[in-house]
Symmetry: C2
DNA sequence: CTATACGTCGTACAGTGTACGGTGTACGGG
DNA sequence: CCCGTACACCGTACACTGTACGACGTATAG
């Protein structure tokens, strides 16, 4: 399998796991050796340490000192586990109260909070959340982030679109950072070394006259960042542009309204 | 394995494959039954039809009527094959000459060309190109796109940053579209059905008073698009914001310069 | 003619998610 | 008290992945 998408399981079963029933009486049979929370926490710690691809049912089971198939008594499958992992990560995000601050600062704070999330859990940036895990973690996150956008002068649908746009940018940046980390580890070659190796090889093959702009600007950027791209710089650069774009939207609405 | 990253192989070998030596004399042993191009073309057609996860060495070999291991006489491994696939897709992109047009129209054309790429080859959007395949396809693409940005008044590094920002947005959007398609196929449930199922279930669980903005705006957006998100709308909405953001950058530089 | 380099490909290995069925345990009803 | 039953736990098995290794045949260089 290769689920890298949330809500790939049955909605009813997934929601039942995300919103556990507190009024649960003792069931028949032996007592459970673990709690669902412990499974999810172990999965997140494993993913944090060794990456999402290290979270296999066998490996996670070993971490918890049970057999692989035992996990299936806690969770219907790996797809649902992924939903629980991500919702748990959402639940523990920092949420700064920026009431009264200028809207640009409030959105900056939202971006920063998501950046912290992806910094602590790089695997979270690699998951597609087109169908998000509709648990308490996501709901709290969504409510908090909408409150930062409230009162700017956007209607409900624009609010949601603007938030989606901002979050999508932060996630794309974080994904690039996570990819850079993974590439560095798996290739035993950091970006600078990779860039140097390719630059010297390309110089022998490539005719600069055929690609004048590409050679000039590509080299300039490569020299500046020591690679083809620098994810951290791209984030700082792009974030300002995203906020400038949103400013155009907000100002446009203000003029109309 | 689960490479979803270009340039994961040895740079020298990869570059040798991307820039084939025309002056290649007859080698010893039997004549080759295939050409490298045919392998790459077959791989791309397979990925277009059935998705990147269908491109396994065995499946591709069957498509070409050879044994699985035979492919390894054409390509060192799957990582290098992925580079060749993507560079080939780049090579056949449309490139409209927009010389003389306003810069906003020129960047719109660049975005549109990349949208066409990802529409024809959805798998291309799912690949991380932090270390791009430095072949003739990418070079032609890069040169063309830089020419659209030339003369706006940005310096070399800003040019590269601006292009990266725009392309990153288009790719993120295309990835969302590809994810939506994949989710629809694999879950036998389209976004509208998924949204309806979850909305009715959530209504029984959730306290609207605890999440007032989330329920109001989430419902408004869900009703508007029939799901949590609509990738096509997000693209149209976001593209304008990205261009507005770039406008702020260009105007800022023009004032300074 | 022979040595060698090369194309082709069958088998094997370690890994994945999870279906299936067996075994032991604790509770509910008689 | 006692037994049927629901449940926790888990060993084995299956289909799938990329590719290392080695066997075998072929065409060229010397």
């Amino acid at each position: 399998m290769s689920i890298e998408r949330t809500s790939a399981g049955d909605p009813a079963r997934t929601l039942a796991l995300l919103w556990p029933d507190a009024a649960a009486g003792r069931r028949r049979g032996p007592e459970r050796g673990l709690k669902l929370d412990a499974v999810v926490v172990a999965a997140n710690r494993l993913a944090d340490r060794e990456g999402l691809e290290a979270v296999t049912m066998r490996r996670l089971a070993k971490e918890l000192h049970v057999a692989a198939m035992t996990l299936y008594t806690y969770v219907p499958g790996k797809a649902e586990l992924l939903d629980l992992m991500l919702d748990a990560a959402y639940a523990e995000m920092p949420r700064r109260d920026t009431t009264g601050a200028p809207w640009r600062d409030r959105l900056l704070a939202v971006a920063e909070e998501n950046r912290i999330l992806f910094d602590a859990h790089p695997w979270a940036a690699t998951i597609s959340t087109l169908r998000p895990p509709l648990g308490p973690g996501l709901m709290a996150k969504y409510e908090h982030e909408l409150s930062a956008l409230a009162g700017i002068g956007l209607d409900d649908v624009d609010c949601d679109d603007a938030l989606t746009h901002l979050l999508s940018f932060v996630q794309a940046s974080a994904r690039a950072s996570a990819d850079a980390r993974a590439a560095r580890q798996e290739s035993a070659m950091n970006d600078e070394q990779w860039w140097a190796a390719n630059a010297s090889l390309l110089a022998q093959i490539l005719d600069p006259l055929a690609y004048p702009l590409a050679t000039r600007i590509g080299t300039a950027a490569g020299v500046e960042y020591g690679s083809a791209h620098d994810p951290d710089h791209a984030y700082q650069f792009g974030l300002q542009l995203v906020l400038d774009g949103l400013a155009a939207l907000v100002d446009g609405k203000a003029v109309k309204g």
